[in-house]
Amino acid sequence: MYSSGYNILSVAWKQYRYKLRSYLELFTGLLIIQLLGLVLSLGAVSQYSSGSNILRISVKSYHSSIILIFTFMWIFGLSILLTTKQYMNLNYTFTANRSSSLLSDMGFILTSSILGGITASLGGMPLRVIIYLTVDHSELLPGMFKPPVSTLATGIWAAILYMIMIAASGYLFGIMVQMNKNFALIIPAVLFFAIRMYLDPYIISLEEFYTKESSLLLFTGKIILTGLALFFLSLMISHRLEVRR
């Protein structure tokens, strides 16, 4: 065990760099899932028609929500993967402890979230180019075709934050599963039954705590605090795990 904070940070930094090189293959998953999202988005995400007997208007709407949701799933899966034995064994390459491993994993998750958030939010751009080249321009509504840079930046920042929180949840879930394999079934089952047992209002309130927050600053604060709390819980559980081993 290391006694000084400097050493933990130094080891965590080395582990982080090593993991970045070793886990590179995980980013192929990001690429594939985003390309899949892009292909699915080509068919218009939503469509509505309305009008009267002399004029009927059909509007096809496009956005990169599918790409974003797929990327969120990817980061969730990736964070669980980091807690599996196969990936945990990489930590033994270094003389490290759980804290440094967790810190390096946090670093890796943060890097993945930044990459994922940026690429997912920019994923709508090739979509715009494809639609521009394939439809009659006079049928294209300007609206958000060229989103203001501030809107794009806000979207990227929020996507990164969402990904950090999803990844932190996935990581905690993975650590809990490592502690007891039964959690792999129990946690999804509890969530499933919570929905079936009409506990929706509590789940919805929790969801709205994040999704209805219209202040970017407050949202950032909420996500950072939640993320830290989830990682802290993961650390506590993984310490118990280390003691048991």
Partner: protein, 235 residues
Amino acid sequence: MNIILLFVVILLILFYIFVIRSASRKKSIITKNKIKFIFLLYCCLLLISTAAVYALPAEDFFNPGEIENQEQFTKAGMIYDLIARGRIQDIPGVNKNISSSYDLEGNRLKLELSQKGNYVISHLDVWIERKDTNDGKIEASNYVSPFLIDNIAFTDRVIAPDISFHDNILTITPHRTLIEFFRFEADFTANQFLQEQNTPYTNKTAFGIQAVYLKIPSNVEVVADKGLNVQYVAP
């Protein structure tokens, strides 16, 4: 239901991660350098697309008309009442898109509704104003009130009906316009923080009307087809 679907999808992904991927991990066919190259290529593609989107000329895009003010919108919604009182020209936002005059022989006018294309327009509003004089002239006009969907005005796209006159028969052939538009929306991640930037008349939707307006001599008898909803103006 959506949450359950999401749950199933997550389970499938987890299955992929834990079972399929773990089994095939040792047989990686792509080298790390290739992965780096492909990922960098993908990032470049995204950046080039972003630059291209901002550089693309947008002049030829559909230019949505906007309603000028709330009064215009409200009054346009009262079009039926105002037309019935002969005040069609006082309605802001209502435009006349055709105007023609025909010489009537005798004092009997027949109105016919003709169809064009596959879609049958079963009814059409026709307002008739009797003039004070018997000048033997039929003045036909067509008015359109604003067609707005989500605050975007599509009024310019409405095609006026064809109006023809032969042997004291005024034939009206309405057209149905079908328009398909494509639009991009901000991502939900950005939308969450953009609520305050909405315009004051957000999501204004009004299906305007098209009104054929006829001015006829006071002594003319009008016989109309079943599909024509004839109403007389009472100033």
